[in-house]
């Protein structure tokens, strides 16, 4: 009973929706307002600071565009992993999750390259509130990428042994959210000048 005790609560499903899926959507709802607050503040500031378009022109659109493609591709791998998990093919789901993690790693490498070039050109966190927003928003997003990589590693290790395959879907949902946040960050900080 003790450690192996599984409460009935964890298996009930009065709504018919798996509990894990429900919980992930609630997590994302609370995440949306976090990024929402930050980005709404940024947009309000942007409207009052016309000089920010000059600052924004120093962000590397090519790197940001490349990273957008990388993230979208990694999201595709997450979908394929979910498909494999639905078919019950755990090892394949795990391989596809590793591909997703690879995409996340490339994303972070490009981000590191961007940050280091920008900082070496004097565009530091303190140069202007634009840059404070830029580093805070992309940094917060980067933290989410790292968390996703850790979780995917754990879930892939399980999936390889055909355990907890339903979690492949859950981490996929999270990963699409991370992707979607970037879809907002990219135009706001790179394209809109």
């Amino acid at each position: 009973m003790s450690a192996a005790h599984v409460p009935l609560a964890t298996t009930r499903s009065a709504t018919g929706i798996p509990t894990g899926r429900l919980a992930v959507w609630w997590v994302l709802a609370s995440e949306i307002v976090i990024f929402g607050g930050l980005l709404a503040a940024y947009v309000m500031f942007r409207l009052h600071h016309p000089h920010w378009h000059a600052e924004a022109s120093h962000t590397n659109t090519w790197a940001g565009g490349f990273n957008t493609v990388v993230l979208l591709t990694s999201s595709l791998f997450a979908v394929l992993a979910h498909q494999a998990a639905l078919r019950g093919d755990g090892p394949r789901a795990a391989r596809l999750l590793y591909a997703t993690i690879g995409g996340a790693a490339i994303f972070l490498l490009v981000k590191a390259f961007e940050w280091s070039t920008e900082i070496s050109h004097g565009f530091t966190l303190f140069r202007d509130t634009f840059w404070s927003f830029y580093y805070t928003a992309t940094g917060l997003h980067g933290v989410h990428v790292v968390v996703g990589m850790i979780l995917m590693t754990l879930i892939a290790a399980d999936a390889r042994r055909d355990r907890n395959l339903h979690r492949v879907e859950l981490i996929g949902t999270y990963w699409h959210f991370v992707d979607a946040v970037w879809i907002f960050l990219f135009p706001l900080f790179y394209i809109a000048r």
Binding site: S2, T10, I17, A23, V33, F35, G36, L38, S132
Partner: protein, 561 residues
């Protein structure tokens, strides 16, 4: 039933596993309760120290000594933070939510028991960080619980280079704990309900905790973002909120109050739910207009997002916006008044009895009414401009928060104590505690309404520098408030004695001492790990009291007919 308890106790082994690292929702609920009670003692004693300073400026406070201005600021800041974030939320929402939700919806635990334990551990860490922030060099943060920048953003201004960031980290950790807990609550109620438990059969207090949790999740995000930005301002030197560097201090006020005002309803709604449960039981009547209460609670939730800027009427807001926010702010009194009328309509014609929980529930309605009515003055931009940041505001929000966080919580504790700990509390001591709490409470804050209208500004360490505020009349009112506070605090000793004495020595409680309908009373007192011997099915709503044609005046939800 008893074999169950023994088997669980044996299987659970060590004290550590059963009490410290348990995943049982009831144990976690009690952990939240005891942590919240300990924090309430600390927060209450803080108010004693600064009230003594206000009544007898610069005289040594018995048991503390002379209060310096910096200490005064740290005391009021942390009193506010503790009472809202480390007392009201953990006790009303986390402790009661954890204890009641699985029992009231007929299940054995939360859907994520380990996440639940993690949520408490993060909460405990946040409390320790907060207490630690009082002991670092420079002292605790003294920039008020609203933490307005630029004062809060620069160590050079607030002179608490470590206290301010630690305070912010503590608040952020606390938010993380409650986000995890809230997600658990909502998914539990959505998915883990007993067979037959339709949405309209869910007890009102569970609904209220769920609506509050969703409100919290939807409102806290911008402040989390704001907290990150403020922390960067404090420790990295960014200037999000510093106009000298292109930032804007008003941005913080928007991010803060977009959360801060819904927060009032986050704690109010569970209190309303508690009162709904208690008055139906002790008036033996059905809750008047269940669906309407639910709808207005949801409406309150929606409206609460549209009122935040009434905190900024004096911060340089566009008068047209002030107008708009006046209207939305006053609108929110409609659903709240509606709930109050529902309570009165429920009482009307009932067979009312007055045990301690009922007294506290009724006092909640009466006292909260004063809080609501005085809020009208502050929600209207015209009067708010005069009253802003005076003791009138302070008295107003204590008339809302004290009934919510203290009176409703006492009602809940006296009501559910038999279920929580399997013993009855002493009713006579309970009544002494009731009168010793409610009467002094009014003698603290009615004088402060008057000093507020007399121009007493909040957050002033000593009025001696303001001769106009040192008239004998105003000073006597301050002394009345302070003496009443001391009396109120002394009467809490009665409660603590009653609570802990009953915990070990109180008479054994039957499973359903109040003859109530909801599912938690079908479990043994206290419920063993796993709660129910057989998982209940639900046949009707929670408030079927005094149904004509039945021998008993109650009709439990799990009894087939």
């Amino acid at each position: 039933m008893s074999h169950d308890t023994a088997a669980h106790a044996a299987a659970h082994g060590s004290v550590w596993r059963r009490w410290v690292f348990s995943t049982d929702h009831k144990v976690i609920g009690c952990q939240y309760l005891f942590t919240g009670m300990a924090m309430a003692v600390i927060g209450g004693l803080m108010s004693y120290v600064f009230r003594m300073q206000l009544a007898w400026p610069d005289a040594p406070v018995p048991g503390y000594g002379v209060v310096s201005p910096g200490e005064y600021n740290a005391l009021v800041t942390n009193h506010g933070s503790i009472m809202i974030f480390w007392v009201a939320m953990p006790v009303l929402i986390a402790a009661l939510g954890n204890f009641l939700i699985p029992l009231m919806i007929g299940c054995d635990d939360m859907v994520f028991p380990r996440l639940n334990r993690l949520s408490y551990q993060i909460f405990l860490l946040s409390a320790l960080v907060l207490l630690g922030s009082l002991a670092v060099p420079g002292g605790g943060f003294g920039g008020a619980w609203t933490s307005y920048p630029p004062l809060s953003a620069k160590g050079a201004y607030n002179l608490t280079p470590y206290g301010a960031p630690l305070w912010l980290v503590a608040v952020a950790l606390e938010f993380v704990a409650f986000l995890l807990g809230g997600i658990n609550f909502v998914t539990t109620v959505m998915n883990a309900r007993a067979p037959g438990m339709k949405a309209s059969y869910i007890p009102m207090v569970v609904w209220m905790i769920i609506i509050a949790s969703i409100l919290f999740m939807a409102s806290v995000g911008p402040l989390v973002a704001g907290a990150v930005m403020l922390l960067f301002d404090q420790i990295l030197g960014t200037r999000f909120f510093d106009p000298a560097g292109g930032g804007d201090p008003l941005l913080w006020q928007h991010l803060f109050w977009f959360f801060g005002h819904p927060e009032v309803y986050v704690v109010l709604l569970p209190a309303m739910g508690i009162v709904a449960e208690i008055i139906t039981v002790f008036s033996r009547k059905k809750l008047f207009a269940y669906n309407t209460v639910l709808l207005t609670a949801a409406g309150t939730g929606v409206l609460s997002f549209l009122v935040w800027a009434h905190h900024q009427f004096v911060a340089g807001i566009d008068p047209r916006m002030a107008h708009l926010f006046t209207v939305t702010t006053l609108l929110i009194s409609i659903p709240i008044a509606e709930m109050t009328f529902v309570f009165i309509a429920t009482l009307y014609g009932g067979s009312i009895t007055f045990p301690t929980p009922m007294l506290f529930a009724l006092a909640f309605i009466a006292e909260f009414l004063i809080g609501g009515v005085t809020g009208i003055f502050l929600g209207s931009s015209g009067t708010d401009i005069y009253l802003h940041d005076t003791y009138f505001v302070l008295a107003h929000f204590h008339y809302t928060f004290f009934p919510i966080a203290i009176i409703a919580t006492f009602a809940a504790l006296y009501f559910w104590f038999p279920k929580m700990f399997g013993r009855m509390m002493n009713d006579t001591l309970g009544k002494i505690h009731f009168w010793g709490t409610v009467i002094p409470f009014n003698f603290i804050f009615i004088p402060l309404f008057i000093t507020g209208m007399g121009g007493d500004h909040r957050r002033i360490y000593s009025y001696e520098n303001f001769p106009m505020q040192m008239t004998p009349f105003l000073q006597e009112l301050r002394i009345v408030a302070t003496v009443s506070l001391v009396i109120l605090l002394l009467f809490q000793v009665v409660f603590l004695f009653n609570f802990f004495w009953s915990l070990f020595r109180g008479p054994k409680a039957p499973a359903n001492p109040w003859r109530a309908n909801t599912l938690e009373w079908t479990a043994p007192s206290p419920p063993p790990h796993g709660n129910f011997a057989t998982m209940p099915s639900v046949y009707r709503g929670p408030y079927e009291y005094s149904v004509p044609g039945r021998a008993d005046d109650y009709w439990p939800q799990h009894v087939a007919n």
